[in-house]
Symmetry: C2
Subunit: 126 residues, 2 copies
């Protein structure tokens, strides 16, 4: 088919967008995406897993489960407790967590570019 024929299919009164989700899998299981990034960034800001979880309306238990899963799927921990543990000295994210967040931001930029390019293509074609 000539792809230009989409013009006759889409309603010219409406706007169309290509949208999607992206994540990183480890051994076929989703383990890193916008959710963990938000949690790590909140731990970085608040210095506490508990406060970070509260900001996201997430239980402390769930936040810990996510952090455990993250730490299990990478070579070095992404979150560590400062001396005295969570109650004593709070928690911090590691250099590795920052690097993974930076990589993820760049990956997301490339994905958003892909979505925008496809949206332009679709609207140009239609």
């Amino acid at each position: 088919m000539a792809i230009k024929t989409l013009k006759s299919i889409l309603n010219q009164q409406f706007s169309y967008t290509i949208n999607g989700k992206l994540w990183i899998e480890c051994m076929g299981e989703r383990f890193f995406g916008p959710g963990p990034v938000e949690l790590l960034e909140n731990i970085n800001t608040t210095g506490s897993i508990n406060k970070a979880a509260k900001e996201m309306n997430m239980s402390y238990k769930k936040a810990w489960a996510i952090i455990n899963a993250l730490n299990t799927n990478v070579a070095k921990p992404l979150v560590v407790m400062k001396s005295g543990g969570e109650k004593g000295g709070g928690s911090v994210i590691t250099k590795e967590a920052r690097q993974l967040i930076t990589y993820h931001k760049k990956l997301r930029k490339r994905f958003i570019y892909f979505l925008e390019k496809e949206t332009k293509k679709l609207n140009h074609l239609s």
Copy 2:
């Protein structure tokens, strides 16, 4: 950061993949993706909305809701009844449905290429 530092973050014993989902939105609402494509292709094969829905373990009601949503979001219907209606003559997908499916297949190929490229990049970097 030098992106090559991911090498020290990811566990070299594990395999990492970039994965995701993609869909088309109309006026900000998801309306077309792998689900509707499967339904349309099943209608094309079986000649019946009822049989197509059954193959996907979907209720006739839900299949109709999807088809109505599809037909509302485009300029020309994607599914039409043959004379006598669903009970009499069955249903067929239109030329426009075929064109949208073809476009969607090409879009998915480009998305899968993006995912593969990013997965290679991640594993090369790490």
